[in-house]
């Protein structure tokens, strides 16, 4: 294993979205994450790179998976991790995001992880605090660490992403995971296809650097990777698609539809899954599924991102008091 000091310095203060990253930035984070995987696989799962640093998880949307992944990542690096539970905090009493941010900022955290139901919330927070901010999902905008962990999973299984065919299937319209993945996969030279009923496609999708199709057979043809997206319950019953039954019939991933993809194509899902809605259990639990690996890579990627943002070689001139907004 190479020493961290030999890796290039990550050039950004925050991770707000894949949009801000160059292909080199992405590769750097993936390289770092590869190293982090090893730490998690040791019996002694503790590094000290973030010892003495304070990490605050500010989750406005419930998310067991992402929040625990960030928490574990921070703890494995030795950081002090605080989870702000929105349900029991002053946020419930009508405090605005900015006021909460200013309050937390006054506690001098080194890194803030934010998940919020509104697009742009992470960027707004980043403008107001003096520490690094990681976007753990903002509305339908971006979820950069998910895209990175997906890329890491693919890269470890299939090598470089360039030229791979990746089909993203399901609720593209409401999905931040889809947006971040479309950008990342395009940046690394993969061919991206999206498969969804037209009611679940955003306006202008054809200009987003993807091939659009309404047919799973067409979209999955010769695909190296099939990414399924979660369909929210409230969108199933007549609002966007007529029924679960019809949705599964046309867009649910089952063994039959998967046959169109390359032999041994990877099956991915960001979780939590709706079995029998977007994915059949036999596929989710089958040999081609890398859904569990995704979870493992999630911790690794988040460790890598936090280490990169809080790289001790970084010049902390940027973190001046004025930036902290007193």
């Amino acid at each position: 294993m190479t020493d961290a000091s030999s890796l290039p310095l990550y050039p950004h203060r925050h991770l707000l979205g894949i949009r801000d990253l160059s292909p080199a930035d992405i590769e750097l984070l993936l390289d770092r994450a590869d190293r982090s995987v090893a730490i998690s696989r040791q019996s002694e799962k503790k590094a000290s790179t973030l010892r003495g640093r304070t990490q605050i998880n500010l989750f406005y949307e419930a998310s067991t998976r992402t929040q625990s992944s960030f928490e574990l990542a921070g703890k494995r690096l030795g950081a002090d991790v605080m989870n702000m539970s929105v349900a029991s905090s002053s946020v419930k009493k009508g405090e605005t995001l900015i006021d909460t941010a200013m309050t937390l900022n006054a506690m001098h955290p080194d890194i803030l992880i934010i998940r919020h139901q509104s697009a742009g919330a992470a960027a707004l927070l980043a403008q107001k605090v003096g520490c690094s901010v990681i976007n753990a999902g903002d509305g339908a905008h971006e979820h950069p660490t998910q895209a990175l962990l997906d890329a890491l999973t693919i890269r470890r299984a299939r090598g470089p992403l360039s030229k791979l065919i990746v089909a993203i299937c399901g609720d593209i319209l409401h999905s931040r995971v889809a947006r971040s993945n479309i950008m990342l996969l395009n940046a690394l030279g993969a061919q991206v296809r999206v498969v969804a009923p037209s009611t679940l496609l955003p306006a202008g999708i054809e200009k987003m650097g993807v091939i659009v199709t309404r047919s799973m057979a067409e979209g999955l043809k010769d695909a190296d990777v099939v990414m399924m997206l979660r369909l929210q319950r409230e969108r199933m019953e007549g609002a966007f698609v007529p029924s679960v039954r019809e949705y599964f019939h046309y867009f649910g991933l089952d063994a039959e539809k998967l046959k169109a993809a390359k032999d041994g194509a990877l099956v991915m899902h960001p979780g939590p899954m709706n079995r029998g809605v977007e994915i059949a259990s036999e596929i989710a639990d089958g040999p081609q599924s890398v859904i569990q690996e995704q979870v493992e890579m999630g911790v690794a990627v988040r460790m890598a991102v936090m280490e990169a943002l809080l790289d001790p070689r970084r010049n902390y001139e940027g973190r001046t008091l004025e930036g902290r907004g007193a």
């Binding site: 605005t96 509104s118 697009a119 742009g120 960027a123 707004l124 903002d138 947006r179 306006a203 987003m208």
Partner: protein, 428 residues
């Protein structure tokens, strides 16, 4: 009686089709002369003579769509503070929207506004009353009594009436009392949770889009009802080529229909939203550049009759939020003329047409005094240096709220003096 002589000014008076160098003489509350012919006209010895060479005199702007926080939201804007902002922008009359708390839907509220305006405002304030009680889109307000009390038009402000039946009755009943029904159309179902123009840009930002049809579908309905009833209908704030075409057709059919556009939809487009800049969250949303161009063409061609600021003061509590959670609206009284003059400076519109849409046309449309420099008219006017460049800065804003889309913008054309009924209410 005091006399002011504005000599050697470029006089722009769309009411008479005049754009010429001449002299404007104001005596007391009235204009007594304005034009070339007055150049050598003598004035009283004690007259104040202002050399206006290189400057323009225009009838004071009449801003037909202004939201004010009084009563109920005085921390955002009061009638007094809005009037000071207006005066600084060359606006001499404001049509005030009924979206206050309580809503201007009864005689007592109209009287309150007029009384407060008389006591505190430096420009003319004309209240528009709600079409429906509480802006709820159900029961009609007392059009007759409200008109008599001084309401100059009817509008549900930011709200769109969803019931075709309510709209039909309002148009029919208002006809009897000479009240224009001004309506902003945005279909609540189609717009749904949308917060900006639907399209690629919104999609990348992860923001729900508002399709153009959300504006044009209820508008088409209203226009059909205007044809049916013969009532006077004003499409208050259109933003799309689709809507403009609908208005053009209705006008061609002889319907009693007019249209307005917000200065924002003439000056800015969806790209200005940038990275979730909430001051650019507006209703209707900033559209694509093609729509902005179409709005300019519609003003030029006469489909759009008036330009409004759609001044809508919002405080940090409603704007310093994630984009989708922020309130819509931006202030505009102080920048209306400067922003509109861009259209003149870059050759899109003649000065006469521009001033017509900002002053003469709204006066005619809503039956208000002003909008003219005709001798005998009340002296509501602005002295403007059309070429002076300036940069909009938050610190210079007089409005109580600072949510301007033009922060840092370079505008060309500055108001030097504003007169309301012969009294100077602003001078630079």
């Amino acid at each position: 009686m005091s006399t002011t002589v504005f000599s050697q000014a470029r006089i722009v008076d769309p009411s008479r089709g005049i754009d010429e160098v001449g002299t404007v003489i104001v005596e007391g509350r009235k204009i007594v002369a304005a034009g070339k012919a007055a150049l050598n006209q003598g004035a009283a010895q004690d007259a104040t003579v202002i050399d206006c060479a290189g400057k323009a005199i225009i009838p004071g702007l009449i801003d037909a769509r202004v939201f004010i926080g009084e009563p109920g939201g005085e921390h955002r804007e009061t009638i007094a503070s809005a009037s000071v902002a207006a005066a600084a922008g060359g606006v001499t009359s404001i049509v005030m929207m009924p979206d206050t708390d309580p809503v201007i839907d009864n005689v007592a509220l109209v009287e309150f506004v007029l009384r407060t305006a008389k006591d505190t405002a430096v420009v003319n304030i004309f209240p528009a009353a709600a079409i429906t009680k509480g802006l709820e889109g159900r029961e009609m307000t007392e059009f007759g009594l409200l008109r008599e009390a001084g309401a100059i038009a009817f509008t549900d402000g930011r709200h769109t009436i969803s019931s075709a039946l309510v709209m039909r009755r309002a148009l029919t009943y208002a006809r009897d009392f000479g009240g224009v029904i001004a309506h902003e159309t945005q279909d609540a179902d189609l717009a749904s949770s949308g917060v900006m123009n639907e399209g690629l840009y919104a999609s990348w930002l992860g923001l729900a889009g508002i399709p153009r049809e959300a504006e044009s579908i209820p508008l088409e309905r209203d226009l059909a009802l205007a044809r049916l009833t013969g009532g006077a209908y004003h499409a208050a704030k259109i933003s799309t080529a689709m809507a403009a075409n609908a208005v053009t057709r209705a006008k061609a059919d002889g319907a009693n229909v007019t249209a307005g556009v917000s200065i924002h939809n003439l000056s800015l487009n969806e790209n200005d939203v940038g990275e979730y800049r909430t001051f650019f969250r507006l209703t209707p949303p900033l559209r694509a550049e093609e729509d902005r161009r179409a709005m300019i063409e519609a003003v030029k061609g006469g489909t759009i009759d008036i330009i409004v600021s759609s001044h809508d003061p919002q405080d940090v509590d409603t704007k310093r939020l994630p984009f989708a959670d922020a309130a819509a609206g931006a202030i505009g009284l102080e920048t209306l003329l400067g922003a509109a003059l861009r259209l003149y400076h870059n050759g899109d519109l003649t000065l006469l047409r521009l001033v017509e849409t900002l002053s003469t046309a709204p006066a005619r449309l809503f039956g208000l005094p002003g909008g003219t420099l005709k001798p005998g008219a009340v002296a509501d006017l602005a002295l403007v240096d059309l070429d002076e460049p300036w940069i909009v800065s938050e610190s210079g804003i007089r409005s109580r709220s600072k949510n301007t889309c033009f922060e840092g913008a370079r505008l060309q054309g500055k108001v030097l003096q504003t007169m309301v009924a012969g009294r100077t209410v602003f001078s630079a």
